[in-house]
């Protein structure tokens, strides 16, 4: 059973566009929500993470929006560049737990 549902499966935007990737979860015990970026042939790397006490977090061109009541969170990439082309995974976990529960991933292509 997928504990974190991610959409869309794939996304194509032009350079400068703002791709948005959405995730939803059911387990209200989750209190840590990271996003990972993965390039072909490499392992996932932490991009940005948020905890439920804030509704938005921004790091450079990457922003997480978090809606606790809707149990949803999303990643926005401002001024997207071809170098942002990668697979993005959302995840969720409990501070007291061990497992990262990953979404199925979104393959992003940013065209020149």
């Amino acid at each position: 059973q997928q504990q974190v549902k991610q959409s869309p499966q794939s996304l194509i935007v032009q350079k400068g566009g703002i791709p948005i990737i959405n995730c939803a979860y059911e387990n209200t015990a989750f209190d840590y929500f990271p996003w990972y970026q993965q390039f072909p042939g490499k392992g996932p790397a932490l991009l940005i993470a948020i905890r439920p006490d804030v509704s938005e977090k921004k790091e450079g061109r990457f922003t997480i929006s978090f809606n606790k009541s809707a149990k949803q969170f999303s990643l926005h990439i401002m001024d997207s560049q071809p170098g942002d082309s990668a697979t993005y995974f959302c995840a969720a976990s409990r501070n007291s737990g061990y497992a990262l529960n990953f979404g199925k991933g979104t393959s992003l292509l940013v065209t020149p």
Binding site: Q9, P34, G43, A45, R94, G97, L100, K104, G105
Partner: protein
């Protein structure tokens, strides 16, 4: 800094063979994890360890075994390889549990024919 190092990068096995996927980290992290990644399915936790000598099952442990004799190393063993174990395997480590960043290696791509 090397971070998390996995070997080998690629391997082809025949059904029924066994092998060990190696993972070592140089960050002195107590927590280590093994995930498998199948196309379009995200990453699923196989086993994890909270310190030397302590391991526990994740979501998909069947067909795998682990050991943790040192802080640095966390090998994953496949005893009787099956086609369903064809996947990309990632090892990760973290300083703490739950809400701490996990650092991933670059994976082992395993095909079982």
């Amino acid at each position: 800094n090397a971070g998390v190092t996995q070997t080998p990068k690629f391997r082809i096995l025949k059904i029924g063979q066994s092998m060990t996927l190696q993972c070592t980290q140089d960050m002195n992290h107590n927590y280590m994890y093994w995930y498998r990644q199948d196309p379009g399915m995200g990453l699923k936790l196989i086993y994890y360890s909270v310190g030397a000598g302590i391991t526990d099952k994740g979501e998909v442990p069947n067909g795998y075994n682990v050991s943790r004799s040192t802080t640095e190393d966390f090998p994953l063993r496949l005893e009787l390889a099956a086609p369903s174990q064809t996947s990309v395997y990632f090892c990760a480590s973290s300083y703490g549990q739950g809400g701490q960043p996990q650092h991933f290696g670059d994976g082992t791509r395993l095909s079982i024919l």
